[in-house]
């Protein structure tokens, strides 16, 4: 009996790997995001050089073997700061997506499945939030809460909720009348279980794509806010405030803006490809 058990477990692991519909988008996206996330995590504990120590003699060194991204106006190693910045930016974006994604699933599931007056109210509120340009709305929230790391997360989180609510709601709306959900109801399965055990796994493929898109938007929004000076405050490194610094030295140190800008492009492209890979995998299934 025990042998049989371990056997089926082994099979499960194999079939799990097999079930992933690999394609080149997925692989490229996975590699690119993987590198970025890894750099960010490593940067959290260790960087080749200190990210804050300044040195007048090392000012504006072009990329070399010692400083592969060169150094900035204070003589700090840009690569080290990009590592830190990646960590900050991806960390903030993850929390934003986590917050808005969870809120989106909860609100979308209940409104889509039950409908009625609550659905009507929630949808009108999301319409209202959607009606504002998102950067304007974050500005308002930031001006109320003040700048800083957690306030960036809160404000972006709130701004991104409606997009998830819409996607999750429309999927629930579609699936609540599916035959297998009807049957579950007929069996007497409780509503809560239908919502999160029966329906939720079926919307994941759609949901993951929107998470990837949301991740990108969060990265861009965080960079944008830091660039405008209302996000992460210096000397803390973030891709946005580095880019903002770099634009003052476009002629003296073009590599500064280029390296930071390309890092942002790298991360965003990685997540886009990742999302596209999931979408195509879903279609081929």
């Amino acid at each position: 009996m025990e042998e049989e058990h371990s056997d089926t477990k082994g099979k499960k692991a194999v079939s799990w790997m097999k079930n992933i519909p690999w394609n080149k988008y997925l692989v490229a996206g996975l590699v690119m995001t993987g590198v970025a996330v890894l750099l960010g995590i490593v940067g959290f504990f260790w960087t080749p050089y200190s990210t804050t120590a300044m040195s007048a003699s090392e000012k504006f060194n072009p990329p070399s073997l010692r400083h592969i991204f060169g150094t900035d106006n204070f003589g700090r190693d840009i690569f080290s700061r990009v590592m830190k910045g990646l960590g900050t930016t991806i960390g903030i974006s993850s929390l934003v997506v986590l917050f808005s994604g969870c809120a989106g699933i909860l609100l979308g599931a209940f409104t889509g499945y039950f409908g009625g007056i609550v659905d009507e109210i929630v949808m009108r509120i999301t319409d209202a939030v959607n009606g504002f340009p998102s950067i304007l709305l974050t500005l308002v929230i930031i001006s109320l809460l003040g700048s800083g790391r957690q306030n960036v997360i809160i404000s972006l989180g709130i701004v991104f909720v409606p997009s998830y609510v819409r996607i999750v709601r429309s999927e629930y709306l579609k699936l609540r009348d599916a035959d297998y959900i009807r049957r579950a109801r007929l069996l007497g399965v409780k509503d809560f279980r239908i919502l999160f055990v029966h329906i939720l796994p079926n919307i994941f493929s759609v949901f993951w794509v929107s998470v990837m898109i949301g991740f990108n938007n969060a990265i861009l929004a965080e960079s944008g806010m830091s660039y405008l000076g209302i996000g992460v405050q210096p000397p803390e490194a973030s891709l946005g405030n580095m880019l903002s610094d770099a634009q003052g030295y476009l002629q003296a140190a073009p590599w500064y803006a280029l390296c930071v800008g390309l890092s942002i492009v790298w991360v965003v492209l990685g997540f886009s490809l990742f999302g596209e890979g999931i979408r195509r995998g879903k279609i081929s299934q």
């Binding site: 099979k11 499960k12 035959d179 297998y180 009807r182 049957r183 007929l186 069996l187 007497g188 796994p201």
Partner: protein
């Protein structure tokens, strides 16, 4: 006239049509019969030059009146095909809903063909379209001409499609399951229409179907296809009288017919599992304006103030249903689509709360087997999980019925065996199963909590004939083993005859006749019942 020589078609590396030879003479109707996946549709689409770009002709060629339309190793000649499509060959599709453009009036769409292929003036075209509409039996051609597809019924849409296909008197008509989406009575009329067109216009017809009986009624010759090969070909009557191939014989046997006698399993003296008394089901219809005070509702009563205020009116879909079902018995429910069959079954299962009357259950939680095996199993779960879920749900509702994990697993394995699947299916997902296997799991899921009563809503109509026969057999053996009562809903009279002890006939929301199967079949009282019986 049409000659398909040694034709093979492949998608990527998989050949779906293998070395097919078919000949079609002028004025002849050739039936191509096969189950889903047999390559019959791909053959037809390739002949019409409508196959998707990913399909390649790997061997053989297609000749039309001596002209090579397609040949292996040569890309499809689109210009050549354009001169043939519409004018000399045309096609009727299965789904009249999607093959007409919903944003254009029906008349315009038919006229389009004329505009492309003839030099007629607008007035002549209009006359010609109306004439074609009359020829295909559309009663108010002027009105149909002005209608949008959604304003027409399924049968009328299919007639419009046929008018479009025959208006230029093409030499070849390919009909791909033209009647599958239609009700039996309509089905019959369309078959009759096709036969008539064939007689008057003398065109060759390629009739593709999964239904052997239909092919027998319409076609001069029949070709049976299986796994991309033509296994047998010959005059229709001969194929039926003396099938040469084992597969053909199996197909013919699998077709439900009235020849098979059903054994009696009912026990009339037992207490019924379900009693329905004077049951009416309605929907709230939102099309009432406050000003329509003088109007009457469907039951002939004046609209009440409340109905006028809320803007809704009760739309009765089932009225005055009155019957019982006894343990071990199958009660058949037949009628055309839209007659209220599904509404009635939903009401019985408690899925519809807009009812008046009485439904009394004497069994625990009646379950249901759905029509479409592809949407009735949760694609995100494994078969084992699906089979255990009803037990978990029952345990959650009633603590005394809670089972241990091991017990549930054992019960699931046991049920898997009962529905004729082996243990390896336990860890699979629905997407890895065929339609018939899914329907087996579906039945298992409905039965695992041990209900005494099952509603089966067209459980076999989405399946191929051979699979259909197996599932019906499974339902019957399970009925005997577990002493189940079925409410068996179907539009297929022959299926119902084979499965059921008693039959209810429904028309426009009313049960017009109910009685023993034999009695209904031999001495139908109502005209409508007679019509239903004569059409199948």
């Amino acid at each position: 006239m049409i000659r398909i020589e040694d034709l093979s078609v492949a998608f990527g590396d998989t050949e779906v049509v293998k070395h097919v030879n078919l000949d079609l003479a002028e004025g002849e109707i050739l039936g191509v019969v096969g189950e889903s996946g047999s390559g019959k549709s791909v053959t037809a689409l390739t002949l019409m030059g409508l196959s998707p770009d990913s399909a390649r002709v790997t061997t053989g060629r297609i000749l039309f009146d001596g002209v090579t339309l397609q040949e292996a190793g040569r890309p499809r000649d689109k210009a050549l095909y354009r001169s043939y499509q519409g004018a000399r060959m045309s096609m009727v599709f299965q789904e009249p809903q999607t093959s007409l453009n919903p944003t254009q009036r029906a008349g315009r769409q038919v006229e389009e063909t004329l505009r492309l292929h003839t030099g007629m003036t607008a007035k002549e075209r209009r006359e010609k379209v109306l004439e074609a509409f009359r020829a295909v039996g559309l009663k108010e051609p002027e009105k149909v001409y002005r209608s949008y597809p959604h304003q027409l019924s399924g049968g009328m849409r299919q007639r419009v499609m046929i008018a479009m296909a025959v208006i230029l008197q093409p030499e070849l008509i390919v009909a791909d399951e033209p009647t599958t989406a239609l009700d039996v009575t309509i089905q019959n009329q369309i078959i009759e229409l096709l036969r008539q067109i064939n007689k008057t216009q003398k065109n060759a017809m390629l009739f593709i179907t999964h239904d052997l009986n239909l092919a027998r009624r319409l076609c001069h010759r029949i070709a049976v296809m299986k796994d991309g090969c033509v296994v047998e070909q010959g005059p229709a009557e001969e194929i039926f009288r003396a099938p040469k191939e084992e597969y053909t014989r199996k197909l013919i046997e699998a077709v439900p017919s009235r020849m098979k006698k059903r054994k009696k399993t009912e026990d009339v003296h037992a207490a019924p599992v379900l009693e329905v008394r004077d049951l009416s089901v309605y929907y709230q219809d939102g099309n009432v304006s406050f000003l329509s005070g003088g109007r009457k509702n469907r039951e002939g009563e004046k609209l009440s103030l409340r109905e006028r205020l809320s803007g809704t009116q009760k739309e009765w879909v089932v009225s005055g249903a009155d019957f019982q079902i006894y343990p071990g018995e199958s009660l058949g429910l037949v009628g055309e689509s839209g007659c209220g069959k599904t509404s009635l079954s939903k009401a019985i299962l408690g899925m519809n709360c807009h009812i008046r009357g009485e439904i009394r259950h004497h069994s625990i939680r009646p379950q249901m087997v759905f029509q479409d095996p592809y949407s009735s199993l949760n694609p995100a779960k494994t078969i084992g999980w699906l089979l255990q879920e009803p037990l978990r749900a029952a345990g959650a509702l009633d603590g005394t019925k809670a089972m241990t994990k091991g017990d549930m697993e054992a019960a699931a394995y046991d049920m898997l065996r009962k529905v004729g699947l082996d243990e390896s299916y336990f860890h699979r997902r629905p997407s890895q199963l065929s339609g018939g296997q899914r329907q087996r799991v579906s039945i298992g899921q409905a039965l695992i909590t041990g209900p005494g009563f099952l509603v089966a809503d067209e459980p076999v109509s989405a399946l191929d004939v051979t699979i259909q026969a197996q599932i019906m057999e499974l339902l019957q053996s399970l009925q005997e083993e577990l002493h189940l009562a079925y409410l068996f809903i179907s539009h297929d009279i022959n299926v119902v005859y084979q499965m059921c002890d008693r039959i209810m006939v429904m028309q426009e929301g009313r049960i017009i006749e109910i009685g023993e199967t034999e009695e209904i079949f031999c001495h139908p009282k109502e005209a409508y019942t007679k019509l239903l019986l004569s059409n199948s």
